[in-house]
């Protein structure tokens, strides 16, 4: 990745973050914290890696993305809108009656959403099913799924992990957003799912641990994942919940609450300054 490409991605990710703030502010609810922590990875996948076409969102040969941590829907919608799947103005209708932007992703009504998710633990299984379907149909598409760190407390996650490795799903990449916070506290305080790397290794995954806000590391990890044969890859991505908005960073109360008018302005001013500095 050239410095220019990297800067371009950082700009897009910042715009995506601004949209997350604007959308949750307009909705007066939603999950900004975990949307902001996964923003760099999702931006990289949709703008630099995945074989997708906003004009043909149902292309059977496309790469798939499953947001297993479905509450980060504002992130997915923002990335999809900026990538051209639908107008960015739609983002302001998030969670409103009549909008196709439901509180959690709805594959039936939102262009570009590959799987309905929101009930934790279920997205990763669907991602396994998609990866398996590619093998059955001799297609070479790749499936990426972002899992919450707290989400990995769901038993179904490990049923899916066991299956993915047992069936040699090397076209599946599981990305863990390790922002360390869940609703009731830090993940260690609540019911520690750590260590992620050793767990996924024990489940026969290829494991890469990275800084989830460093595009060089993100790209390297995805390249390793895409080129690993015979087994799936888990990218354990260390992130900051609320990343990019200083007063939201590492603050658990921003898991599931929206910024008010003043907070929205503050956040946007900060992100605008970031954008201008790039």
């Amino acid at each position: 990745m050239t410095e220019i490409q990297k800067k371009e991605l950082m700009k897009v990710a910042t715009s995506v973050r601004m949209s997350i703030i604007e959308a949750t502010h307009a909705a007066k609810s939603g999950h900004p914290g975990g949307s902001l922590s996964s923003a760099d990875m999702a931006t990289y996948l949709y703008f630099s890696r995945m074989n997708i076409d906003p004009e043909n969102p149902k292309d059977p040969n496309r790469d798939r993305f499953v947001l297993s941590k479905g509450h980060a829907a504002p992130l997915l919608y923002s990335v999809l809108a900026h990538r051209g799947f639908f107008p960015t103005e739609e983002l302001l209708k998030l969670r409103k009656p009549g909008s196709f932007l439901q509180g959690h992703p709805d594959m039936k009504h939102t262009p570009g959403v590959d799987m309905s998710t929101g009930s934790l633990g279920q997205g990763i299984s669907a991602a396994c099913g998609m990866a398996l379907a590619a093998k059955l149909d001799n297609k070479d598409y790749h499936v990426y799924t972002i899992l919450g760190d707290g989400e990995s407390e769901e038993g179904q996650v490990w049923e899916a992990a066991m299956f993915a490795a047992a069936k040699n799903l090397d076209n599946l990449t599981v990305i863990v957003d390790w922002n360390n916070l869940q609703i009731d506290g830090t993940i260690e305080e609540v019911n520690s799912p750590l260590p992620f790397d050793k767990k996924f290794e024990a489940f026969n995954f290829n494991v890469v641990v990275i800084d989830g806000h460093n595009f060089d590391e993100i790209e390297k990890a995805i390249e390793i994942a895409d080129n690993t044969k015979g087994r799936p890859t888990a990218i354990i991505m260390k992130t900051v919940k609320g990343k990019g908005v200083s007063f939201m960073e590492n603050q658990i109360n921003w898991h599931g609450s929206a910024p008010n008018d003043e907070q929205c302005e503050m956040a946007l001013a900060e992100l605008r300054a970031t954008l201008e500095s790039l």
Partner: protein, 314 residues
């Protein structure tokens, strides 16, 4: 009625899967380490490349089925009713029902006729659980003939279907001229004094009950409802209007099953007495299936008794 041939609907299911694939239909079958019991093993033997064993992980199985179906390929997913409709309820609701994916959950070992395995494995709640999911089609076929047709019909429709199948060999009631259609009830016996609505293995008992009642001068109409959802409301309302009393028979809890569905329809359209023959609000228990049907009151004689009660309330 002749009881000579008995076939478990799970066996009919396994054979129907093979027949579908033989006919060139493209689909995948997934199971959770119960292929030998659910009879998806019959399919596995014939089409090993289209069968995936998920292992003992029903929640993951439903999620994987949803993922495969999202790519356009229909999936049959099987386990015991308890672990499919029960354990994986929320996966069926959120990963299959909500996105209306083409997953056919074909669950065997439903009801108390599981027998010796006892209460933990006897699912008397699955119809209630599945019919409450928006857009879910729920089918409980009565015999071998109807099961084979139901499996093929389930494949042909776009969207989620739950098919309830049994472990116990049950009499083959219908010949090759029988025609199953999703959403259509079938009047098997005409009658004017009362209507017996039955589903699954209770259809056979209902027919026997009608014979007994006939000998006692009571003219009982018998309707087979294989598709519990969408319910054939027309045939139910007509029966309520013409016979004035209904007895609903199912090998399922009296709460939330076909009896409740029929009662909803009747109370809203043509209120008449609706009496249920089913498993009362209790857990099952171990024992030979045939004895359990006696113990839990799921026999023709129990239907006859409830029919008389229903008529007395007219």
């Amino acid at each position: 009625m002749s009881d000579v041939i008995k076939v478990a609907t799970r066996d009919s299911y396994g054979k129907a899967l093979v027949e579908l694939a033989d006919a060139g239909k493209d689909f995948v079958v997934v199971d959770a380490d119960l292929a030998a019991a659910t009879k998806t093993g019959t399919f596995k033997k014939a089409y090993p490349d289209k069968f995936i064993d998920i292992g003992i992980a029903e929640q993951n199985m439903i999620g994987i089925a949803a993922g495969i179906a999202s790519t356009g390929k229909p999936v049959f997913a099987s386990s015991f009713a308890m672990f499919a409709a029960g354990r994986a309820f929320e996966q069926i609701r959120n990963s299959v029902g909500y996105p209306h994916l083409n997953v056919k959950v074909c669950a065997t070992h439903a009801g108390i006729s599981v027998g010796e395995d006892g209460a933990t494995h006897q699912c008397n709640e699955d119809i209630a659980l599945m019919r409450v999911i928006p857009g879910m089609t729920v089918i409980n076929p009565a015999d071998d003939t109807e099961t084979k047709q139901a499996i093929k019909a389930a494949f042909e429709i776009d969207g989620p279907v739950y098919v309830r199948l049994g472990r116990l060999a049950v009499p083959v009631i219908f010949d090759e001229n029988y025609k199953f259609e999703i959403g259509k009830g079938v009047e098997l016996v005409s009658g004017n004094d009362v209507t017996i609505v039955a589903t699954g293995l209770m259809v056979h008992e209902a027919l026997a009950a009608a014979e007994t009642l006939k000998s006692e001068g009571i003219s009982a109409r018998v309707i087979n409802i294989a598709t519990i959802k969408p319910l054939d409301e027309e045939i139910i309302i007509k029966a309520a209007k013409e016979t004035g009393a209904i007895v609903v028979c199912e090998e399922h809890s009296v709460i939330g099953g076909l009896g409740s569905a029929v009662a909803d329809t009747v109370s809203a359209n043509c209120p008449v007495p609706v009496i249920k023959v089913g498993v009362e609000d209790v857990f099952g228990k171990s024992g030979p299936a045939a004895q359990l049907l006696d113990i839990f009151g799921l026999r023709a004689e129990n239907i006859v008794e409830k029919v008389k009660l229903a008529i007395s309330k007219k």
